[in-house]
């Protein structure tokens, strides 16, 4: 790998052992993935919470801190595993909670901004076209590449931190124009009327391709398309297929037409996939059938848990859920959780949505994503067996945590979890205690 004199100095340890660790990590990763040099980045976004770090990762970060590690470029944190205001109510392990508090201090001392969000691209940080960044959380990566035209690979926690410490990342994959070329045409004939439909579309295409280096090009999707719709599409593509980029012809910036998306003036491929309403409905049916199996426990229309998360909700999503919940309350025996970031929570409070959600008995968690919250422990403590969600990403992940998931459209989830509430009636207070 070709290194600049400054990078050689980093490698030689002249900028301290933490930077030396970081650049050696990057050189090795770059060597395996075909990078010939490092590229400067202006931002890093890292996953770093106790649930994924474990004690050994925590000790590693502590050792970096003792070596006076300090990030050189703006580095933000992804969603975390603890909302301290709700940790006791959700019966989270006090040791996990204490460690998470300590970890936040450690990261802060390293100069990391504790943004605690997986939707930085909607609230805090909108990269410009062609900007090289080093983001972690796959949903942030696919949105940055596809919607903003920024350039990033999936950067895991250690890799994003390394980028923060060196201000660089290995130049491979989606930093190069060639990798961003469309590989397959996906013709969409389906009507996408709810965020869950966009997630279902991502699930189908992600499962079909299941390869980080594939880039689907969607046709048949016309404006208006909202940021939240693109968010759920991207999150599902990344979750089901480990994809880092997509194009939508006429919508995303690197796909004004098919030829540009495929970076060709020659022949285009025939559509490789066609998605119609039946295909979208089949995604819902498959999850419902899975949950109905004997070992699943719980059914979609009588869930233990309803969760809107992954990605965290935008202000517009919070407004929609609040409108659906107006005059209703969460059913006895059901726990209803939504997650968002601090900025959107404040906006929702100012706009009155938060009050509506609380009055209905919804737990609004901040700075976390549900599946990061040491879920196996919580599941055992509350006896949760089934989860209903409008997030295809959560529906996909939850299977590894010993629960059955059901994917439904947003209004259907709310309908299944709530009942009409007469004026003045309080929210139920069984199960997880509420505000």
């Amino acid at each position: 790998m070709i290194l600049t004199p400054e990078e050689e100095a980093m490698r030689a340890g002249e900028m301290g052992p933490a930077v030396q660790w970081a650049i050696e990590h990057q050189i090795e990763v770059g060597r395996v993935l075909g990078a010939r040099r490092l590229v400067p980045v202006s931002r890093a976004h890292m996953m770093g919470d106790m649930e994924v770090l474990g004690e050994s990762g925590f000790a590693f970060l502590q050792s970096l801190r003792r070596q006076n590690a300090r990030v050189r470029v703006t580095t933000t944190t992804n969603a975390r595993c603890v909302d301290f205001a709700f940790a006791e109510r959700l019966r989270q392990d006090p040791r996990l909670v204490a460690r998470e508090a300590e970890l936040r201090k450690t990261l802060s001392r390293m100069g990391v901004i504790l943004s605690d969000t997986c939707i930085n691209y909607q609230t805090l940080d909108q990269p410009h076209f062609g900007q090289h960044i080093a983001w972690g959380d796959t949903g942030t990566v696919i949105y940055a590449n596809s919607v903003y035209g920024a350039r990033t690979n999936f950067e895991s926690g250690p890799a994003a931190l390394a980028a923060g410490l060196t201000g660089r990342t290995p130049m491979y994959g989606f930093h190069r124009p060639k990798a961003r070329r469309g590989r397959i045409i996906v013709e969409v004939k389906a009507r996408l009327v709810d965020l869950a439909d966009w997630g279902a579309l991502g699930a189908i295409v992600g499962r079909h391709l299941n390869d980080y280096w594939q880039v689907p090009v969607f046709t048949g999707i016309e404006e208006p398309v909202s940021g939240d719709e693109l968010k759920h599409l991207g999150a599902a593509l990344a979750s089901y297929g480990s994809l880092a980029m997509f194009h939508i012809v006429g919508v995303t910036p690197e796909a004004p037409d098919l030829e540009t998306a495929f970076q060709t003036t020659g022949r285009l491929p025939a559509p490789g996939l066609r998605i119609d309403d039946a295909a979208i409905n089949a995604v819902y049916d498959a999850y419902a059938a899975q949950a109905a199996q004997p070992r699943g426990g719980g059914r979609g229309d009588d869930p233990d848990l309803v969760v809107f998360t992954a990605p965290q909700l935008s202000v517009f999503e919070l407004a929609q859920v609040a409108a659906l919940l107006d005059g209703r309350r969460v059913r006895r025996g059901t726990t209803f959780i939504v997650t968002t970031n601090a900025q959107n929570r404040q906006a929702a409070a100012d706009l009155g949505y938060l009050q509506t959600l609380r009055e209905a008995g919804v737990l609004v968690l901040t700075g976390v994503c549900f599946y990061l919250m040491a879920l196996p422990d919580m599941r055992r403590r509350f006896g949760w067996r089934s989860l209903l969600t409008n997030s295809a990403k959560v529906a996909n992940i939850i299977g590894g945590y010993g629960m059955r998931s059901v994917l439904r459209r947003t209004a259907e989830c709310v309908e299944a979890a709530t009942e009409p509430r007469s004026r003045g009636a309080a929210a139920h207070t069984d199960g997880v205690r509420r505000d």
Partner: protein, 151 residues
């Protein structure tokens, strides 16, 4: 006819030999693994109920997100990480995670190792040699350790 030697793209880590655990399904530590004990927990996964500790995990693709970055390190520190990973197609996260954890990894393996090795594994435990510097994966038959254990 089954290939016994596979070529790979540039890999990471030293040469290792060990018992293979071959999956036809893609793999993610977050989506598929009970990370407390290192056992595949996803219902219906090809490796459901199998421990990944100390074996060479052969999978067609990486699945999902960025969790492998920290979690492989944690598994390694707790002594329940795989001996090595062999990927047909990898994503950067697994490479980053293996580099951070010090777990050997190869990817871009040709011919497709999953179908070939899955078939071979049906005849009994398979022993592999993973050689990242030499860009090769070789099948060592039979697996003497497994044979001794049986006896």
């Amino acid at each position: 006819m089954t290939s016994r030697v596979f070529t790979t793209r540039p890999g990471f880590g030293p040469v290792v030999e060990g018992t293979a655990l071959v999956s036809r399904d893609a793999f993610s530590p977050r989506y598929d693994l009970d990370r407390d004990v290192g056992v595949v927990s996803r219902a219906g996964h090809d490796l459901e109920g199998r421990s990944i500790a100390g074996v060479i995990v052969v999978v067609p693709a990486a699945k999902g997100g960025v969790a492998a970055g920290w979690s492989l390190y944690d598994l390694r520190q707790r002594g329940i990480a795989p001996l090595a990973f062999v990927f047909t197609r990898v994503n950067p996260v697994f490479v980053q995670g293996c580099v951070h954890a010090g777990i050997p990894i190869v990817h871009g393996v040709r011919p497709d190792p999953v179908s070939a090795l899955h078939e071979l594994a049906r005849g009994g435990p398979l022993r592999l040699r993973v050689d990242p510097p030499g860009r090769r994966v070789s099948v060592l038959l039979p697996d003497p350790a497994a044979k001794e254990a049986k006896e």
